[in-house]
Symmetry: C2
Subunit: 280 residues, 2 copies
Amino acid sequence: MTITIVGVGLIGGSMAITLRERGFADRLIGVGRRAVSLDKALSLGLIDEKMDLEEAIEVSDLIVLTVPVDALKEMLPGVLDRITDRQVVIDAGSTKEKFLASIREHPKRSRFVATHPMAGTEYSGPEAAVPGLFDGKCTVFCDVQDSAPDAVELVKRLYETLGMRIVYMNAAAHDLHTAYVSHISHITSFALALTVLEKEKEDKAIFELASGGFESTVRLAKSSPDMWVPVFRQNKENVLDVLTEMIHQLSHMKELLVKEDFDNVYKLIQQSNEIKRIIK
Amino acid sequence: MTITIVGVGLIGGSMAITLRERGFADRLIGVGRRAVSLDKALSLGLIDEKMDLEEAIEVSDLIVLTVPVDALKEMLPGVLDRITDRQVVIDAGSTKEKFLASIREHPKRSRFVATHPMAGTEYSGPEAAVPGLFDGKCTVFCDVQDSAPDAVELVKRLYETLGMRIVYMNAAAHDLHTAYVSHISHITSFALALTVLEKEKEDKAIFELASGGFESTVRLAKSSPDMWVPVFRQNKENVLDVLTEMIHQLSHMKELLVKEDFDNVYKLIQQSNEIKRIIK
């Protein structure tokens, strides 16, 4: 099968490596705006060749769009305009509702399958691509009733080849859920990094004692604004809801500390320990 | 050397294993309030025998207090009352200023060395003890000018045996720095866990998409309130300062999202990416 990856970075590149290794793809074409990035992907062997988008669409069975969600929204109608009824297009974006609404009436809507593989690291670009990134993780299929059964079937096989578990969800639920279990984690990491970096301006040695706990909570603050600003833009309402609740929880904790109400601080920590039920 | 560990949990237990393995200790005595915990430590082979505190002090060269910082503050004067000028006492507490003030005038102050090995996991109790927990990490020695040189020398050898790098700092600086690079990470993890657990009450499936990023930012929310409430009590002022700044950062992010000022969101994320300089 010939697959085009548009945006050969962490996600697209890791897909490329794994799909080739496992015999799903036999020709991999890379498309991208940044020539440097594309040449890197070529020299790393992630893709076999690079092409313009139009050219690549013509020769591909499957087109995988792994670009930031703003670019995705802009690009998708044009891609659908050019495909036949035997081709399939997928995305890997972290938000769904806004851009799905923008192609709702498109005559080729059914050739598109909206997916979100929930895997990644805080790194980006083709150098960050690794085989096995998706193994055992979950991927979300959104609004599959709007996609053709044969297209869904093909994309299911693709994700099964990547070793992923498939979860079905409508776009609205997906965007709400990812705001809670992904987007807010990034915002708190960014804020934590800013808090400590701010302190560093007056106290150069502030990081001397940073250890594992700090590293794990702040790790996501290495994530690229090119990916995350579009996510926050497109999922603004949900992100604001969670962010408001997060600020409320921190303010509540602060209030209890100010009042020295340590019994209730104890109870809150005990409640938060409930998370053991979720993460092992 | 005979060493007594008071509170044989994650830290005390891990010290015990490693100090025995590396030939620093040849007799390890456990002391603790909870008989179940102590019997567990005995059956795991962390300690050779259990004793009452008074009894244990009499036969030990070194007494290691790895109890929550409130218990430490309460217990320390009584321990110092009972030791001779050839014995040494250390702690491993996450805060220093408050309890050091409470023993400032103690006639045996110089036999005490205040230390904080910056290592740990989100687990607690003797079952959580592991060898090599401290390897390559840093430990803080506070206010060493108040300890006798021979006591400091012994404790240096102990931490070098554990494989730790020693950092010297006064108690006030220690408490400020740990508020920034440790205590606030725990508070944000607790708050994040509470935020999502709160949502789960109305939406049972909210955790279905939780992936690596969520797990790393929320991992510390598994930490015990028995350890952390005393830390927040004793380091209240510093923790409140950082918490206020953290709420400010999150509120600023919220304000920018509300205004759809995504250029400045982009700039903030770029600034937070600076953290790459600190964590690799």
